[in-house]
């Protein structure tokens, strides 16, 4: 049966290929050393000579059903070209490298650029009056539509929101790095105060026990020095927040259609949706999509070094991060913990088998799996089936996870 489906997919795609067109356009791509550059690329599998309408993807603007034409606004076509190019790359990865039958069978996807509406499971697009969305991207599941309200059925779609400069104070972000820095500063402040007290005490003891102590701890100079450092430290600590606000970055923006790894990430959601349903954002579904985005990009860093279109820090699988129970909550679904964890495990189960392993892993987890239970059980079960020496590799995995504080 599998062979039959594969043959059918092959015949269909080859017959379609016979009619497909290629087009040379400018798009944003990454160089070998991960730098973003604008360069000429060839868009393949197009079925229209005039618009971004292909065999597998149709790039539209907002709520429109019409593909963006090549002669439309230059900025818009640049986004469309970049999205189309990277989506094709992501699809090729899943279909030809990972050999995903499911990815090969996904019907043509509509890709919406500059789309602000929120998603509605019943009505496809939420009402225009609801808060518009920016600096974001999402993959939505297919819907049956609502005939009584004139909502047609729709397939799986990827929505890239428009970019908008937002002041950081208006954003509610889980700034873990800042929290860590504040803890460090508090320790530093306590250490300085303790140091001042120790100095004062030791000088006091010396003054009382020696005939010639060298320095009088109660002298003005000594008191100014000792108290002074504590006062300076305390002042610095109390005004840390306003000072850091003055010097730190204030604006945030993210043009998701122009960041290759975000495009890969969103397509990965679609390719993995046979098991990881697109219901809501969790650490597992985001981490798995991040892993495959990293694989397609061939980099452990996602959405970094692309400040023109992204002031967000990006994700780094090699960043050493210990597990926190908060990572299980939806608020922290987009941290790079699971991404880093899967990236590390890939090396344990061998670089060659790593991506096949992670692709198989999607069958053992669900969108709602927790990191600590569902994901780890899934990893161990997958290892039981796929690892060369399962017992040994499982121990390696458990040891690595233990070190990550899990």
């Amino acid at each position: 049966m599998k062979t039959l489906i594969l043959s059918l997919v092959f015949i269909l795609s080859t017959s379609a290929l016979a009619q497909s067109l290629d087009r040379k356009v400018e798009a944003l791509i990454r160089t070998d050393n991960n730098r973003p550059v604008v360069d000429e690329v060839i868009l393949t599998d197009l079925v229209s000579a005039e618009s971004f309408d292909g065999l597998h993807f149709k790039i539209v603007q907002g709520k429109s059903d019409e593909a963006i034409r090549f002669d439309q606004d230059e900025e818009l076509t640049f986004r469309a070209a970049t999205a189309y190019y990277h989506l094709t790359k992501a699809r090729d990865y899943f279909v030809y490298k990972v050999k995903s039958e499911y990815a090969a069978s996904i019907p043509k996807m509509v890709i919406r650029i500059d789309h602000k509406n929120q998603f509605s499971e019943l009505g496809h697009f939420a009402h225009d009056n609801l808060e518009p969305q920016f600096n974001n991207a999402l993959t939505i599941p297919a819907g049956k539509g609502l005939a009584s309200k004139g909502v047609k059925p729709w397939g799986m779609e990827i929505w890239f929101r428009p970019m908008k400069k937002i002041h950081l104070r208006d954003l509610q972000v889980n700034d873990l790095a800042n929290q860590e820095f504040q803890v460090l500063m508090k320790q530093f402040r306590n250490q300085i105060h303790m140091q001042s007290l120790q100095r004062f005490m030791s000088q006091g003891v010396m003054a009382l026990t020696r005939d010639n102590p060298g320095m009088n701890p109660f002298s003005v100079e000594s008191l100014v020095r000792t108290v002074g450092s504590s006062v300076i430290m305390e002042a610095g600590y109390q005004f840390l927040e306003p000072i850091s606000k003055v010097f730190s970055r204030k604006w945030y923006w993210l043009d998701t259609a122009l960041v290759p790894e975000i495009i890969y990430h969103e397509y990965a959601h679609a390719a993995l949706s046979d098991h990881l349903v697109l219901s809501h954002s969790t650490a597992i579904i985001e981490g798995m999509a991040d892993f495959f985005a990293g694989q397609i990009a061939n980099s452990p860093k996602l959405a970094t070094h692309i400040k023109k279109y992204n002031t967000y820090n990006g994700k780094n699988a090699k960043k050493k991060k210990e597990y926190m129970i908060q990572f299980e909550s939806a608020d922290y679904a987009n941290t790079d913990f699971v991404f880093g964890m899967l990236w590390e495990l890939k090396k344990i189960v061998s670089e060659d088998k790593g991506e096949a392993f992670m692709f198989e892993l999607r069958k053992k987890v669900t969108t709602n799996s927790s990191i600590r239970v569902g994901l780890i059980e899934g990893i161990l079960e997958t290892c039981e089936e796929m690892c060369t020496v399962p017992f040994v590799d499982k121990i390696r995995i458990l040891k690595a996870l233990n070190l990550k504080g899990l």
């Binding site: 320790q187 001042s196 002074g228 450092s229 161990l380 040994v392 040891k399 899990l406």
Partner: protein, 427 residues
């Protein structure tokens, strides 16, 4: 008639059993502990005098003519040397021949050590004549009786035992007369025995060689080694006798022996089995897909707590550590606490852990006893110096050591196992 047949069987069976050729073949060790450039040069030198097949043939002959209940490293060495000298009368590369036999897996590292130790005893040369001022006899009252024991060395001790065993038995008998008796007392006694013509020169020489090499301290003779390994193989037949591991031939820290040599010389077969079984249980627990804690009231179970995968893992390690402590309380161990790596070597010895799993399971030790890196060690010093510097260095520069202390505490704190005090995890 039946009785006569039975008697015949009883008489013949031991003869047949002892006629069985002794095998000392290596069936556990991979790369030899003795595999070094200098030892390989010795092999090359030996092979210049005699060829490979001649060494193998000679060793085969020696073993064929050896009864397993009379296994003796000194006899084997003597017979092997005799055979090799029959090929080349000037053959003097005995060590090379032994290393060659190891390289061909005819023997393992433990047998190599036993044979070479015996060879070293025989070839060591005492400084003669002895300086009378440096000879210290034991208590005078015991001397005549001790000399009597020495005089019976050949007739009583050596007649029924291998040289090493005979020497040790004699030494023990002498020591029974004086608990403070030391090796250097024997030196004087041997001279005295020779001067009083209680022993001839050859016996004096061999006993002095044994004394110089502290033969009384050696715990493993070839016979004991053979009995130990045979007993283990009978009780735990190897699933794969071709499976060899490099792990067991690695050097033990601060000792001049390999892990397997240490195991076989330090533990009895029963202790090895007990140690191996601890690892067997650990392996089962590590491989288990589910673990639950059941809580009962006075009548029935009221709660089942299913452990998370990482909790299962850490529980298995905690239980291992508990069982290791209990092992030392066991009568058979007499308060001795075996090291985790000894347990691993024991588990491999009886085939509970395959070679492919050894390194990884052994590496579990890092979880409760992480290896200290250079930076870990340096951090302690920097932290100590910074703490002193916070008082010594005057303001405003005092912030430098204070910052160093804070940074070290922050980074060192992260490296310690945070699972231990994690309220969201049971283990």
């Amino acid at each position: 008639m039946r009785f006569a047949l039975l008697l015949l069987c009883i008489l013949i069976l031991p003869v047949l059993a002892s006629a069985e050729t002794v095998s000392l073949r290596n069936d556990r060790e991979g790369k030899s502990y003795y595999d070094s450039k200098s030892n390989n040069r010795l092999i090359t030198k030996a092979l210049k005098s005699v060829d490979q097949s001649q060494i193998l043939g000679a060793f085969d002959d020696v073993l064929r003519n050896t009864e397993k209940n009379k296994l003796c490293s000194f006899d084997i060495n003597q017979n092997l040397l005799k055979e090799l000298r029959a090929v080349d009368s000037k053959f003097n590369q005995f060590e090379g021949a032994i290393y060659f036999l190891r390289s061909e897996n005819q023997i393992d590292d433990t047998v190599v050590k036993i044979l070479l130790d015996a060879h070293n005893v025989i070839t060591s040369s005492p400084q003669l004549p002895k300086d009378p001022e440096r000879l210290f006899l034991p208590e005078k009252a015991n001397v005549p009786e001790m000399l009597e024991i020495i005089s019976t060395f050949e007739s009583k001790y050596l007649k029924t035992s291998c040289f090493d065993e005979a020497y040790k038995n004699m030494y023990n008998d002498i020591q029974k007369l004086d608990k403070k008796f030391k090796n250097h007392n024997l030196e004087a006694l041997l001279v005295e025995a020779y001067q009083q013509k209680k022993i001839n020169y050859n016996t004096y020489l061999s006993l002095e060689q044994a004394r110089m090499n502290e033969l009384e301290m050696t715990s493993l003779s070839l016979k004991i080694y053979y009995q130990k390994v045979s007993s283990l193989r009978v009780q735990y037949p190897l699933r794969d006798s071709n499976e060899l591991s490099d792990y067991t031939t690695q050097k033990v820290d601060k000792m001049k022996v390999s892990r397997r040599q240490h195991l076989l010389s330090s533990y009895t077969d029963l202790q090895i089995i007990m140690m191996g079984n601890v690892i067997k249980t650990l392996r089962t627990r590590l491989d288990s897909p589910k673990a639950e804690i059941l809580i009962y009231d006075r009548q029935e179970g009221i709660e089942t707590i299913t452990l998370e995968p990482m909790e299962r893992f850490r529980l298995a390690i905690k239980l291992l550590r508990k069982e290791m402590s209990y092992l030392s309380l066991n009568t058979y161990f007499a308060g001795r606490t075996p090291d985790y790596l000894d347990l691993m070597t024991a588990a491999y010895e009886i085939g509970i852990i395959p070679a492919s799993e050894l390194t990884e399971v052994a590496g579990l030790k890092d979880i409760w006893s992480p290896k200290k890196t250079f930076w870990d060690k340096a951090r302690v010093w920097v932290q100590t110096l910074s703490s002193v510097a916070t008082i010594v260095i005057p303001p405003p520069y005092g912030f430098i050591p204070a910052l160093a202390v804070v940074v070290i505490e922050a980074t060192a704190g992260k490296q310690t196992n945070s699972n231990l005090d994690d309220p969201t995890s049971l283990f």
